[in-house]
């Protein structure tokens, strides 16, 4: 397999010499996500397979091209899961692509995000250098946290060759409740419950209903299901799956999808309809046809940001614009990792 690493390095070095840009691709399931796709295709899906998995360590290392389904199947055999419950957005989803996009699912608000679960990486940077950061251990403060820097960087800082993640025990029992509430009351309820010692593992508000998922041991889940009241959902897995994979009818056929990342109690008054709310109020999805500048102003006013997650609009950058100071630091980081702009050029921002 290391021969592939050499080939990737060589390809990047060559591209650098000829001034070529490379477009990195794993399973191709997230082609909808990102600004521009320029340059020659460099496919990494064949760099695949779990390298190391020791259930008692709660740690798994795998190559970037390893399909997410393969990893989740292996973990399930040992009663474990990826704590951040990643969306796949397609059967071909790979681990590398998921880390590059930094996607986390419903469990994120309580179990932490993908970035929180990443322990180490092996990357090939824009100069074709084979580099390792972080490691296999939970506690590691040697040097800067370059591993986590890779999460959500859309492959613009390096080809993510190998990834080491922390995994979690799978909850023995889960139960989902639904309560009919207004959006405002639902947001308040989500925040209130998140401050209580109850085994809450996911929240979602859609179509006037608040959905609460409890996960843990049978007895504790039962106790809190009883205390919280509401209606028990029968096809809960299917429901959460539809939220995570954006297959729920809320998402269907919308020409664009805005993703608001905001403080959990934020009030986005300028929107007539509440949209779909996740992560205890911190993640809001909107399919409303509102001008981008209004969307971004509304997000900024409450101390958050808004990305155009799906769909394109003329002259609208997909990712929320950054302040000039932050932009300067990020550009300098790009300069360090990929000085000749070989990797996924313009995929994230027009300035790198």
């Amino acid at each position: 397999m290391d021969i592939l690493i050499e080939q990737f390095s060589e390809r990047i070095r060559q591209a650098r010499l000829t001034g070529e840009s490379l477009r990195l691709q794993g399973g191709g399931s997230k082609g909808f996500y990102g600004e521009k796709f320029v340059g020659s295709l460099l496919e990494v899906a064949n760099f695949s397979g779990v390298i190391d998995y020791e259930p008692s360590e709660l740690v798994l290392s795998a190559r970037c091209g390893t399909p997410l389904v393969e990893i989740e199947k292996l973990l399930a055999e040992h009663g474990q899961i990826l704590g951040f419950e990643p969306p796949h957005f397609g059967e071909t989803a790979t681990l590398g692509g998921t880390v590059a996009c930094g996607f986390s699912g419903p469990r994120r608000a309580t179990a932490g995000s993908l970035r929180d679960h990443l322990l180490g990486v092996r990357i090939i940077d824009g100069q074709g250098q084979d580099l390792r950061f972080g490691g296999q251990v939970m506690k590691n403060v040697a040097g800067y946290d370059v591993s986590r820097l890779m999460v959500g960087a859309l492959g613009t800082l390096g080809l993510l060759a190998e990834l080491t993640l922390r995994v979690m025990p799978k909850p023995v029992h889960e139960c989902t409740l639904s309560l009919e509430l207004s959006a405002k009351a639902a947001i308040e309820k989500m925040n209130h419950l998140a401050g209580m010692p109850i085994p809450l593992s996911a929240t979602c508000y859609v179509e006037n209903c608040l959905y609460l998922r409890l996960s843990g041991l049978q007895r504790e889940v039962d106790t809190h299901v009883f205390r919280l009241g509401g209606e028990t959902i029968l096809d809960a897995d299917q429901f959460w799956n539809s939220i995570r994979e954006q297959e729920h009818r809320f998402f269907r056929d919308a020409p664009f999808l805005w993703r608001f990342s905001v403080p959990s109690m934020a009030c986005l008054d300028s929107f007539d309809e509440p949209g779909l709310i996740e992560w205890g109020g911190a993640l809001r999805w909107s399919v409303a046809d509102i001008p981008a500048c209004k969307v971004r102003m509304a997000a900024e006013r409450v101390g958050g940001h808004a990305n155009l997650f799906r769909g394109k609009q003329p002259d609208v950058p997909l990712f929320h614009p950054q302040s000039s100071a932050i932009r300067a630091i990020q550009t300098r980081l790009k300069d360090q990792f990929d000085p000749d702009r070989v990797l996924n050029r313009f995929r994230m921002y027009s300035y790198f």
Partner: protein
């Protein structure tokens, strides 16, 4: 790649100090500038007291405006700046630079806001770690990272070191509990990183800032996440006649699907030391495990039964449970007193901090015994076993010729063993100056150069805490001889983990 100026290369101009003091006097009150040796001496080292250095000047700004003004002056005059919190760090990260300014954030002591519904606290960097949890307690919330020095260490220092603590196995490190930072850059510009939302657009600069050991920016304000206090807590103490049984039990607990809030191990030597010191009532055995379980009442009850079963499978000699706060406190008292207790047994000791994958616990224990045998120095072992973080305490007498050197060399060998086992040279104490040589072993030149690149992305002048963490090419070349610096603990009486 552009390389920054390194601190020993800063040229010293005779009237630079006067010029600096003059300019600082324009932006700070007289009482906020210390330039006499006696006044500056409390700042000459952090918790790693073996390394001492007086700075040119110590400044104690009171607000963001003053911090920015100081940084602008230093940037203009090309004077290095070292930032300091409470000075409890153990790796020399806050060791002053002789030709530089020591910037103390001690006056940034306010908790600005606690929002119980959104579960966030906005604090200044000089706020002590423990006082955040104390302030949040009335809302039944707490701030999870609890480094052993939590009564004294500040949140600013915690961010610099990415501090953990006993409970990070379940609740994560500082990086997992931080939402937003206000930062002054070396040029005196204020920037905000992160937000009260759960993520931010672009690269994850918050991850880079956490654990950056004061080399990227000066934190002037932090927003941290608060968690609900668990409904129920129980600490199980398990005594083993064979330390490798205890080590195996650690792996079995995790493998059984239980995630304890804390899982600690002490060996015979540390138990003996602790018993003589605080009389915690520990059984005198080869090893004990302290396993803290928290969560809902129902979950804790079941998990206590489950860990009891695991311990039995691994030939446990005795099990005790502490359900109320008083008995839990007694169980922990011994563990928390382990460092000073060992300090009473030996004139000097050197505390190491490395991590290994849990499955290598037995291997590392054997290797440590072997090291102790060959060096003739006793090594007491205190582990955050659950996350594979070792704190071997190497006991020596600095008055015996050559013993300090020997202890240093044993320490360096332990770190190399951690690397061999697939671990890291530092789990929570940071690299600072102490472990800068071992960085040459953990990383290759290309990785080290990229670290330098990261630093320059935030601080192109290279003036913030220069010379720390990232070794030069020259230093790595010299490291072959294994000359490692070591130190004694400041505040040896303080509880540490």
């Amino acid at each position: 790649m552009v390389f920054p100026v390194l601190f020993h290369e800063f040229s010293y101009m005779p009237n630079l100090k006067q010029e600096l003091i003059h300019q600082l006097g324009q932006v700070l009150e007289t009482g906020s500038i210390l330039s006499q040796a006696e006044a500056m001496s409390p700042f000459e080292s952090d918790g790693l007291t073996a390394m001492k250095q007086l700075p040119l000047v110590v400044v104690l700004p009171s607000n963001e405006k003053e911090v920015c003004a100081v940084l602008r002056i230093c940037h203009e005059l090309s004077i290095p700046v070292v930032v300091r919190g409470a000075g409890t760090g153990l790796s020399g990260g806050a060791l002053p630079v002789g030709e530089g300014v020591l910037l103390s954030m001690a006056r940034f002591m306010r908790i600005l806001d606690i929002d119980p519904l959104a579960r966030v606290a906005r604090v200044e960097p000089g706020v002590r770690n423990l006082s955040i949890s104390q302030a949040a307690a009335s809302h039944n919330l707490f701030y999870a990272p609890d480094p052993s020095s939590q009564i004294a260490c500040t949140i600013g220092g915690n961010i610099a070191e990415n501090s953990g603590g006993v409970h990070c196995l379940k609740y994560g490190l500082t990086v997992h509990n931080l939402l937003r930072l206000r930062i002054a850059t070396m040029t005196g510009e204020m920037i905000e990183i992160g937000s009260e939302a759960l993520d931010s657009p672009g690269y994850d600069l918050l991850a880079l800032m956490t654990g950056s050991e004061g080399m990227l920016g000066v934190v002037t304000e932090a927003t941290v996440r608060l968690l609900p206090k668990p409904e129920s807590v129980c600490v199980v103490l398990a005594a083993f006649d064979d330390i490798s049984c205890a080590a195996q039990a650690v792996g079995s607990i995790i493998a059984s699907g239980i995630l304890p809030a804390g899982l600690e191990m002490m060996d015979h030597l540390s138990i003996k030391a602790v018993e003589a010191f605080v009389h915690a009532g520990y059984p005198t055995v080869a090893a004990i495990l302290l396993c803290e379980l928290d969560g809902t009442k129902e979950a804790v009850e079941e998990q206590v039964l489950a860990v009891n079963a695991v311990f039995k499978r691994h030939q446990v000699k005795e099990v005790r449970e502490a359900w109320d706060e008083l008995s839990r406190h007694l169980f922990w008292a011994g563990r928390k007193a382990a460092f000073p207790a060992v300090g009473r047994l030996s004139p000097d000791y050197y505390c190491m901090d490395g991590t290994i994958p849990r499955r290598k616990l037995a291997f590392i224990l054997e290797s440590l015994q072997e090291l102790s045998r060959t060096s003739g120095l006793q090594i007491a072992n205190v582990f955050h076993a659950g996350d594979g973080n070792l704190h071997p305490l190497i006991m020596y007498d600095a008055n015996c010729e050559g013993e300090q050197k020997l202890a240093e060399s044993v320490g360096a060998q332990i770190l190399e063993l951690c690397l061999e086992a697939g671990g890291s040279i530092t789990g929570e104490h940071g690299v600072g100056m102490e472990k800068i040589n071992q960085m040459c072993s953990q990383f290759g030149r290309a990785e080290l150069d990229l670290f330098l690149g990261v630093k320059l992305s935030f601080d192109p002048s290279g003036l913030l805490n220069p010379g720390k963490v990232i070794p030069t090419l020259h230093r790595c070349a010299e490291y072959g001889a294994m000359h490692v610096h070591s130190g004694q603990l400041l505040h040896g009486e303080m509880e540490r983990f």
